[in-house]
Each structure stands twice: as structure tokens, then as C-alpha cells.
Assembly symmetry: C2
Homo-oligomer: 367 residues x 2
């Protein structure tokens, strides 16, 4: 059943399926860590509705709202009228690493992501900035809202997945309207025929099956901008939340994750190679990753792989000598703004389970 669905979406059978309808799945961490570019078949899937079937011939991208010229662009027009750009960018679900928060206190009705709801691809398409210039954005515009052609159901409503980003970000050269992913046409599960890719922001802003771009004064009022993807203090609950006071997620905080060895695995005593990924956002670079075997009392500096682009994660590796017994391994990263990760997940617990970036901790049995 799982296998069939994964196969139909051209996904690896090795993915861990978190839900079937809609499909949500993530790769095991050791597979994820093998390649700086995540193969399309291994790339995590985060969907809120069934994958829509869109005919590329009749497809049109609508650009409207606070613009001088409304646009309706076919895929051919997009390719013909704007320069083609590529960017290597990591996308991360805001709920990545929710599983660790759930261990501390339950988070009902949310997907129990481990740390694989993240991936890096080369995206090819046109610059959102170029399209916005063609539409001649009016001075009053401050936010750029995206609307997908999928149909999400919430209570009695049915609507496209949406969200917005500030105009300033939308005009940055890294934001792409992508029709290719790693040299292939965008797979259906990843937004065929067109999605926006907003590097450095939570994955939810990289709206798939993009149907409409609206320039407006205020942020999107779509459910996924106005109600979901906000964080609250640890004591706030679904019942007490004042949604207007939640922190709207945009850029992601710094994080690092141990991919290998895997949590709960058995390893041999002696030198142990520890490998992982680290990610900051907003274009900030990963400057250092540290690994500890004593809960943060002392740290070993990991080797960083060369930077492969400002908007991509950074792989790291450290070799530490481990003795027999149950051992905790901890990792934390620092970025170019000298931000580092919080020590304890419970200090940043929030009832939606977003952006857990606490020190990553795994346990291994050393034989």
C-alpha cells in the first residue's frame, strides 16, 4: 500500500511515510546525509491535500493585486520572456524535528517528523523579481501572496494552500519560480508545473502548484499564513492561543542534526565517525559545528564540507573515540551572526511543534 503510493509519486520505497492521504514522508537520516543534493526520489514530501493534476498546456500563472499590469503567463511565456536562473537551495519543513518535542509533551494532530523533513535541490526557473518587474508593482505593495492550485479541506471550507513573504524578500535574487528540480521537470508531488522556492524561509512559503501571485499591503490571510506556522511560548495551548500574537515564521533559526550513526543504533568502541547537516537561514553561513560526548561540558570541532552555496545546508563530520556503554552524542552549530542553538528542547516547546532547533541528541549503544 505504502509502496504503491510511493511508486506512483516516483518516490523511493525507503522513505518513512508519516501519512498517506495526503502523502507526507521523509527519508531515513543516513540516506539523506549521503549526498549534498537530495535526489528527487528521496526528497521529503509535505502535502496538505491530494496532489492536483494540472494540464501544463492550459496552465496559467496569474499575477494581480497592487500591480500596474496584471499578467497571465503560460509556461512557454515564462520560459521565453524571462532569463532562466538556477539556485541550489535547502528547503526545510517548519515541523522538522517535531518528534523530539513530542517526547517531552504531546502535540496532537501534527505530523511526527523526525529530522528528515529537509532536502537540498538545484531549482531551475525564472526569478520572481523579473516577473514582478514585468507586472510593475505599485508603491503601496508590501507583501507578495502565493496561492496553490491544490484543494485543502478545513471544516466546511476548501481552498488552495497559501502564504506570503515580504516584498523585500520577494525582490531578492534568490527567490525562484521553479519548473525544474535537479534537472528534471518538477515532480507532481513537488508542485508540477510551477512552484515558488523561497530560500532561507520555512518550506511552507515555497508554495507548490502555484496558481496566483497577489501583491498586497498586508500579509496573506490564507489559513497557513494567518493561523498555522506561528509559534507561541511554551505555556500557551491551542485553547489559550491568541493567534494575532503568535510569532509568524519566516526565516528559520540555526540548527544542526546528527544523521549518522542513527539514534538508538549499536556501534563499535573506538573511533566513531559522526556525520550530520547544519543549516542557518537568511543567507547566514554555518561557521562552526561542535560535537560533545559529555552533554556539553567539552566539545570537539567538526570538519565542515566546503560551502556549496549561500542557501544550502552544510555537511559536517567529526571523529570521536567512544567507550563501551550507553552514550549520548550531542551536536550544536553556530552561524555567522554568532547565533547558536538552545540547549533543551523543552525550553522551546510550542503547542504546534514548530522550529525545534535545540541541541541534537542521540543515544548509541557502544559494544
Amino acid at each position: 500500500m505504502h509502496e504503491e503510493l510511493l511508486e506512483r509519486e516516483n518516490k523511493s520505497a525507503e522513505l518513512i511515510v508519516r501519512s498517506l492521504d495526503p502523502l507526507n514522508a521523509e527519508p531515513p537520516l543516513d540516506l539523506l546525509r549521503r549526498s549534498h543534493i537530495t535526489a528527487n526520489r528521496l526528497f521529503f514530501v509535505r502535502n496538505h491535500a491530494p496532489v492536483p493534476q494540472i494540464d501544463p498546456r492550459s496552465y496559467r500563472l496569474h499575477v494581480n493585486g497592487l500591480v500596474r499590469r496584471e499578467l497571465q503567463l503560460s509556461l512557454d511565456e515564462l520560459r521565453r520572456e524571462f532569463p532562466i536562473r538556477t539556485i541550489v537551495a535547502t528547503l526545510q519543513c517548519a515541523g522538522n524535528r517535531r518528534q523530539e518535542l513530542m517526547r517531552f509533551k504531546p502535540i496532537p494532530d501534527e505530523i511526527e517528523w523526525h529530522a528528515g523533513a529537509i532536502g537540498t535541490a538545484e531549482w531551475r526557473g525564472v526569478s520572481l523579481r523579473d516577473v514582478l518587474r514585468a507586472a510593475e508593482v505599485l508603491d503601496e505593495a508590501q507583501h507578495v501572496a502565493f496561492l496553490g492550485l491544490d484543494r485543502v479541506r478545513k471544516k466546511d471550507l476548501e481552498f488552495g494552500f497559501g502564504g506570503s513573504i515580504p516584498l523585500e524578500k520577494a525582490l531578492s535574487p534568490e527567490v525562484i519560480l521553479a519548473f525544474e528540480m535537479n534537472g528534471e521537470p518538477l515532480p507532481p508531488a513537488h508542485g508540477f508545473p510551477l512552484r515558488v522556492v523561497v530560500p532561507g524561509y520555512i518550506g511552507a512559503r515555497s508554495v507548490k502548484w502555484l496558481g496566483q501571485i497577489t501583491l498586497q499591503k498586508t500579509p496573506s490571510e490564507n489559513y497557513f499564513q494567518a493561523r498555522a506556522y506561528k509559534i507561541f511560548a511554551p505555556h500557551v495551548t491551542a485553547e489559550t492561543a491568541d493567534w494575532d500574537r503568535g510569532l509568524t515564521l519566516g526565516e528559520l533559526p540555526i540548527s544542526s542534526v546528527i544523521c549518522s550513526p542513527q539514534d538508538g543504533s549499536e556501534v563499535e568502541a573506538g573511533p566513531l565517525s559522526i556525520k550530520g547537516y547544519a543549516l542557518s537561514s537568511g543567507g547566514r553561513s554555518i561557521e562552526r559545528v561542535e560535537v560533545s560526548l559529555d552533554g556539553g561540558e567539552s566539545w570537539t570541532i567538526a570538519e565542515l564540507e566546503p560551502e556549496r552555496g549561500r542557501w544550502a545546508w552544510r555537511f559536517w563530520e567529526a571523529t570521536l573515540v567512544v567507550d563501551r556503554g550507553e552514550r549520548e552524542i550531542v551536536a550544536r552549530a553556530w552561524d555567522s551572526a554568532a547565533n547558536t542553538q538552545p540547549e533543551e528542547a523543552r525550553r522551546i516547546w510550542n503547542f504546534k511543534g514548530y522550529v525545534n532547533n535545540a541541541w541534537h541528541r542521540i543515544w548509541v549503544k557502544v559494544k
Copy 2:
């Protein structure tokens, strides 16, 4: 003695002097918190050498290195040839809050700053970007180095205080060559007749008594860029530090500080108003400040004063009911990239004592 020197530099006698020669001083936190704009007389002073006496008539700013046109600009030419700009920006010393790190483990030969090595002013001058355009920067240039006209002595050497920023930041509209501070000519202790103001970066990059701007391929090799203002892991010492592997400070991490009541003060039982400042960097906004009376188990959300500019700190206030006894009050902030502060200062201790942004903790005696 202190009073005379402070008076000579046109500084308030209420400043806490940390060293006399060179002058280093900070305001008490309750005074600092009174006004969103810090009066020049109260603004912290961080000098590495005596204040140089510069004749504004013969003063010239030299722009050289990887440019098509070298420039030598008098103050009149700067004012006449470029548009005048103003910006409200907070400057913070990278060593602010070092005192808290020193309580955990000694940091010899560094200034014992409390949390007052920070201030906000309205800076008036010309845009660095405009000056660089006039100099016609060559494609190979990647860093912009600044050199001051002060004379710092280190061992047998004497040289100007210097540092550099990436070209991309230098071309951002917020970076100003300032000749005025809060409507007055730049005071001598703050860089008369000209300093650069690099909002969102550690104070050390806002070089005072600016004599030279050099476009180059690599970062400045000035002592204060290549050797100081780097951070290391907690276990690294002055003896074991590999300076090439230190994290070069640029943007500052998110921080928040309780200014009132002051640490160690006595307060009355009942509702207590707690006031402070919070600061992120890189243009990220402060989204939330939380205050706790139980060491972080539960938090009260503080009220934020309206944002007064993208590059300025944000004031906050919370009223909590305190019972009799010795009480710890803790504050932490969150920024628009969902970054928050580390819980414990000892986890980020570094042997130079830079960028302590741990949860701010004060103790009060409640009567």
C-alpha cells in the same frame, strides 16, 4: 580624576568608568533604559587608544585599493557631493555582558563590561554606498577595509584601529559615514570628524576617526579583524587558539537585558515593573520578549514598545507579581528568524568573552 576626564570628553559623571587610559565607560542600566535614543553624554565609550585630535580643515578621507578612481575627500566635499542620510542605529560592543561570563570563569586583560556597552543614536552623514559608487569599485573587490587615525600600541607596533565588512554589506543602504550624532557634530570620543556606522554588526566594525577605506579581495589584516573579535569553543584558551579557525564576529546574535530593577537591588513585594532592551541584528526584528520568575519553567510575555527602526533596539516592559524573598528574574527574546537566546552563559563562554547573549538573569531582594 574620573570626573575630570569624563567632563573633558563631554561625558556624564554618571558613567561607570571601566578604564581611564584609554577611556572606556558605560552608563548604568536604569539611565540607559530611560530613552530610546541614548544621549551623547551617556553613550558608552569603547576606545583602544587615546582620542586623536584631528583638524577638520586639513582632514581628508582616502578611498583606495580595488577602485577605478582613488578619492581624497574633504569634509566639505563629502557634504556637498553626496546626498545626506540619517539612520537610527544601535551600536553594541562585542564584549557587552562580559561580566556575566567572568563570574563563571576568569577572562584576564579584557574590560569587565556590564550590559551598558550599547546605545542608540541618530547618525547623520553620507551613504558609504554612494562614496563607493563614486570610486567605481572593481569587480575583484569583495571586502571593504576601514582604518582609523587613532594610534593603537601593541607590543612594538603602533597602528590605526581597523576592520572590514563584506562588500555586500558595505553596499547596503544602512551603512553610513557619519559626521553627526543625535544632531551634534560627532563628539571626539565617538570619532570626530568622521566614523563609519555599520548597523547590525559588532561595534568594532564602526571604525572611528576614519582615515582610509580600502577595497580589497580579502578581509582586513588589521589586528582587530584578524586576531581580536573572534570567538572560540568554551574549551579553547589563549594558548591553544588557532586564530585562523576562530569565528569572525560580524552580525550580533539576539539578546535581551533587564535594565530595571537593577541586579542586586531591593524591591517591594507586589506588582513589579520590569523593563529592558532587546536587540537582534542583520535587520531581523525582535518578535517577542519573555520574562520568568521560576528559572524558565513559565514565562510572561512582555509588552514591546513600537518598533522605531529596523536597526534599533526594542524596549520592553512586563509587570509581574513578586513575593518576599530572594528572587531571580530571567528574560529571553525571540527574533523574526525564530532564533532565541541560549539558556546558560557557561555554555557559550569563550576566552575573549565576546557576544554573551545567554538568558539575562538578575537577583532582587523582595521586602
